[in-house]
């Protein structure tokens, strides 16, 4: 059996999802595909059930916060793995901060349950249709989402932890 590569996967996804493939790149050998958030559930289902691609394994789900990217402040990153082709890929969806909703994939992968709860717990992203979307690692009565960039870890008055010393110029988040 011929093993498919990143380009083959990308072409297949582009053919199936056309204009909803918003961006793509190959980062350190791994295919990244940005899709419209509304179609991510459908895309993952399609990848999972596709006879040739057979993306059968959900590696993890990660949230990322980009406070400066207006209109696309939050990213949900799904890392998937096709064992048949031994190919890993990332599906990304960007959400605006006032509409943090994305469809759950717990119906496709049972293991997505806690991964989505963790992403909700730390970033406040709401997975529509999740059977039990509660905080998981933090306390239930916590009233903020701690992995967002506006919550700095240390005392903000400390000057030695200034972001400029971390190679970044943006100190206002």
């Amino acid at each position: 059996m011929e093993k498919l590569n990143n380009q083959d996967f990308l072409s297949a996804v582009q053919a199936a999802f056309g204009a909803d493939v918003l961006a793509h790149e190959e980062a350190f050998g791994m295919l990244n595909i940005e899709l419209s958030p509304a179609r991510i559930h459908e895309a993952i289902q399609w990848l999972q059930q596709h006879q040739d691609l057979s993306v059968n394994y959900l590696t993890n789900i990660a949230g990322v916060h980009y406070p400066e990217a207006v209109g696309r402040e939050f990213a949900v990153v799904y890392q998937l793995h096709s064992w048949k082709h031994n190919l890993r890929l990332r599906i990304k969806g960007y959400l605006p901060k006032d509409k943090l909703h994305i469809a759950t994939i717990t119906d496709l992968f049972a293991g997505a349950n806690w991964m989505e709860r963790e992403t909700y717990d730390f970033f406040g992203i709401i997975f529509d249709g999740h059977p039990d979307l509660r905080r998981i690692l933090n306390m239930d009565d916590m009233d903020y989402f701690p992995m967002r960039k506006e919550y700095v870890l240390e005392d903000a008055t400390r000057e030695d932890k200034d972001d400029r010393f971390f190679g970044r110029n943006n100190n206002e988040l």
Binding site: F28, M30, N56, Y57, L137, M147
Partner: protein, 401 residues
């Protein structure tokens, strides 16, 4: 779900259902996490988990730590096999900066990671024995694990939270004492291990207790994104060392044991066989240990020796730049996975070129497979739930991060 279990669940009379706490500090949780069980007599009808008791915000911490300081965080994930976590993290950074690692370092890493796997599996398997009531089989492996910890000490100076290695290699070469201790370990361990194996593997009582305890099918295990020995016990031969070899694992000849039923006994047997395979890998790596340096030529990341820092301007500049985090880093996203003690341990690193990660996520196998626990123990007696918990080897540090 078998018919027998279905009958139990159906027959449960609401008046007889009791709610009990299994944990947070139950002796057999081996860490702090709570399960609220609903039981009808001895049979578990449902359970609900609470995790996060030792959540230490590693992902948040990592966003404020330079890359070389994150190694100490990874120690505290699966603390039964810290070197795998340390080296996995170092390889992630090396992937980001794109550096060629000398063959000798790769082989040294394989030796340390396989020692760590042995230590991890030894603890897990002997604890299964304890939870089945066999305390003697717990004491013997500890003297063997002690020898592994002595080997860690020779390499890193520490035993549990090892902080082993550096970005680019090791902090020192294998010492003469290490060679001597490793050789004697390779000679004596297999015999001691087989003694341990003979205490449990074909022990009638142990088999009766563990067979059929906490089974999971291959389909469900895959759906739950299981990895590592727990997935292989269900009959799926997925191993990161073979699927995406790192650190020269492709050079070694070893087999991936798989189970059939995905129950406690299969998990025990898979781990036992993996220990034997790890010994094989260590023997091969040690016999063919290449000559060369114990670190890559990586002045931007690898701290220069102290005597150079005091006497040589260039070394002083590099030392300063590393400590103050002035090193240029590429922008990008990398994912690197290693086969940890419990499965696919992944590091998803987003770098924006700053001296700390913009985002670092740990793919922690424990966290991912522990969610299947209620499904695995449904309809079983509490004593089986205890065994199941110890055999899936949930390590609180890795679970809660």
């Amino acid at each position: 779900m078998s018919q027998e279990i279905k009958d139990v669940l159906q027959a449960a009379d609401p008046a007889n259902v009791a709610t009990i706490n299994f944990g947070p500090t139950h002796p057999s949780t081996h860490g702090i996490f709570q399960n609220i069980l609903k039981v009808d007599g001895e049979k578990i009808i449902s359970s609900e988990q609470t995790v996060g008791y030792i959540h230490r915000a590693f992902e948040k911490l990592a966003e404020r730590r330079p890359y070389n300081q994150i190694t100490t965080i990874t120690d505290r994930l699966n603390y039964c096999s810290s070197p795998i976590n340390n080296i996995g993290w170092e390889m992630t950074v090396e992937k980001l900066i794109g550096v060629e690692i000398p063959k000798r370092v790769q082989y040294m890493r394989v030796i340390m990671m396989e020692l760590a796997r042995i230590a991890d599996h030894l603890i897990c398997n002997s604890v299964i024995g304890v939870d089945a009531g066999a305390l003697t089989s717990f004491f013997y492996p500890f003297s063997e694990r002690e020898k592994i910890y002595e080997l860690y000490e020779e390499i890193s100076g520490a035993r549990l939270t090892t902080n082993m290695g550096r970005i680019g290699g090791f902090e020192r070469d294998f010492t003469p004492v290490f060679h001597q201790k490793l050789q004697s370990f390779l000679k004596t361990f297999p015999k001691a291990f087989e003694e341990f194996d003979s205490m449990l593997a074909r022990n009638r009582i142990f088999m009766d207790r563990t067979k059929g305890a906490g089974p999971i099918s291959a389909e469900r295990a895959l759906s739950y994104s299981f990895s590592g020995p727990n997935l292989r016990a269900a009959g799926v031969d997925y191993d990161v060392r073979v699927m995406s070899p790192y650190s020269s694992y492709e050079d070694f000849d070893f087999t991936i044991p798989v189970g059939v039923n995905g129950d406690t006994y299969d998990r025990f047997m898979v781990r036992q066989e993996e220990i034997r395979q790890s010994i094989r890998i260590i023997e091969q790596a040690y016999k063919n240990l290449p000559e060369g340096d114990y670190k890559a030529d990586l002045p931007d990341f690898y701290l220069p020796p102290k005597e150079d820092v005091y006497n040589n301007m260039e070394a002083l500049i590099y030392h300063f730049k590393i400590v103050m985090g002035e090193t240029e880093l590429p922008v990008g996203e990398v994912y690197h996975a290693v086969e940890g003690g419990n499965g696919e341990l992944g590091f998803y690193l987003i770098s924006d070129g700053g001296r700390t990660p913009y985002r670092l996520q740990f793919r922690r196998p424990c966290f991912i497979y522990y969610q299947a626990y209620p499904e695995m123990i449904k309809g079983l007696p509490i004593s089986d739930a205890v065994l199941t918990l110890s055999s899936i080897n949930v390590i609180a540090g890795e679970l809660d991060a």
